[in-house]
Structure formats: structure tokens, C-alpha cells
């Protein structure tokens, strides 16, 4: 279905951006802080890749689990649960890495922030570059036309316009 295309594109764009930041960060970190800088940049890129993939991945998982039913509470449970899980993992990673001897904190911080900010930019590019269709609306209108019921008139009116102001 077309509504998953934007999320799949966001997922891949975000991962590509995180990889690019890890690569550039590894080169710069290697020059500035030696081996510790390279390791910190790669860890920063991995954390950002995890963050990005969880954002789009939980939406895709929610859509798949609810079988494209946007009214299902499971959809929001998956997205908001994934959000909490993501922060739990991030906090755990920070606790473990904060005092690790092979981590250069400044390089790690800059790489995480750069990758996450740029991956949000990649999300915007991915979403804006994807055309959304009103497939659900067409289906509802066709169903209403095929089998008119007392409630179908308002459904049909809503597909065409302005928020249910019709009688």
C-alpha cells in the first residue's frame, strides 16, 4: 500500500544519513582524537541509525500489525511503546558509554546530534517526496455508492469536502 512508501523511504534515507555521518565523523574524529575518535564516531552513527530506524520502523510495524487499520489502538501502542523503548535503550547506552575508556565524549556527542538532526531532515525529504493518494476515501465512496445505507450519505459527503457540514 502506498502509505508505507514514505516510511520505507524515510527509513532508508535516515540510515544512509547516519552511515554518512559515521563515516565523516570517523575521519574527522581520527584526525582530532585518534582511535578513540574513530570508535566514538562509529558508536554515534550506530546510535543515530538505531534512533532513525526505530522512528520509521515502529510506524511500519504498527501499520503491518493493525493491517492498515488506523483506528486500531494497537497502532498507537506500538508507536508510543517504541518511543519509550527507544529512549530506554538510549539512556542505557549513554550510561554504559559515559565512562568507557575508549569513548571521546565530544566526538560522540557531535556525531549523535549531527546524525539525528540530519536524519530528521532526511525524513522530511522522504515524506515530502512521496505522493499520497486518497485510496481509503475512494473505497469508502465506492462502498457507499454500491450499498446505500442511512449512515452512508455522511460518509460520502466527508470524502469530498469540508469536515461534515453537510446535512
Amino acid at each position: 500500500m502506498n502509505d508505507t512508501l514514505a516510511f520505507r523511504r524515510a527509513l532508508w534515507f535516515g540510515l544512509a544519513v547516519a552511515g554518512a555521518v559515521a563515516l565523516i565523523g570517523a575521519v574527522v574524529g581520527g584526525v582530532v582524537a585518534g582511535t578513540d575518535g574513530v570508535i566514538s564516531a562509529v558508536i554515534g552513527g550506530l546510535i543515530a541509525a538505531f534512533f532513525t530506524s526505530m522512528s520509521a520502523g515502529t510506524v511500519l510495524l504498527g501499520i503491518r500489525l493493525t493491517r492498515h487499520d488506523p483506528a486500531s489502538p494497537l497502532f498507537y501502542a506500538v508507536i508510543l511503546g517504541g518511543w519509550i523503548a527507544k529512549f530506554a535503550v538510549f539512556v542505557l547506552a549513554m550510561v554504559l558509554l559515559r565512562d568507557a575508556p575508549f569513548v571521546q565524549p565530544t566526538v560522540l556527542l557531535i556525531c549523535v546530534l549531527a546524525a539525528v538532526v540530519l536524519s530528521v531532515g532526511a525524513d522530511v525529504v522522504a515524506v515530502l517526496g512521496t505522493k499520497e493518494t486518497y485510496v481509503a476515501g475512494l473505497k469508502q465512496a465506492q462502498a457507499a455508492k454500491a450499498a446505500p445505507t442511512p449512515g452512508s450519505a455522511s460518509t460520502e459527503a466527508r470524502t469530498t469536502d469540508d469536515g461534515g457540514q453537510h446535512p
Partner: protein
């Protein structure tokens, strides 16, 4: 009276207020819009994703600065 503790904790607590309110508004308004116009659910969900991405970015910066800054 002596106050002890880590200032970063207070900083993160303050930094979490905005994203917390923001993500609640994003999810709540999307549910409201889907209830009004169910046929727009696909488009709304995509736009909600962008809102969530921007909102959680602020939270992430707060957490990162809390630990590393």
C-alpha cells in the same frame, strides 16, 4: 541549607517538558483528525510521523547533553 545533586538532571527535566507536551499534542490531534475524516488517515499518519520525529529530536538532544555535555 546545602543542595547537592547533578544540575544536568534538572536540565534534562526542563528539556523533557516541551517534547512531552509536543508529542501528546501530535498524537492527540492526529486521533482527533482521523475521527473527523477517516479517509485522510494515511496522509495524517505520515504527517504525524514528521511531527513525532521533530519532537523526539528535542528530547534526544536533552538526554545526550544530560549524559555527555
Amino acid at each position: 541549607m546545602e543542595i547537592v545533586g547533578n544540575l544536568n538532571t534538572i536540565g534534562y527535566g526542563l528539556a523533557a517538558i516541551g517534547p512531552g507536551i509536543g508529542i501528546g499534542i501530535v498524537a492527540g490531534k492526529t486521533v482527533e483528525a482521523m475521527a473527523r475524516q477517516p479517509e485522510m488517515a494515511g496522509t495524517l499518519r505520515t504527517t504525524m510521523f514528521l511531527g513525532i520525529a521533530f519532537t523526539e529530536l528535542l528530547g534526544l538532544i536533552g538526554v545526550a547533553l544530560f549524559f555527555i555535555g
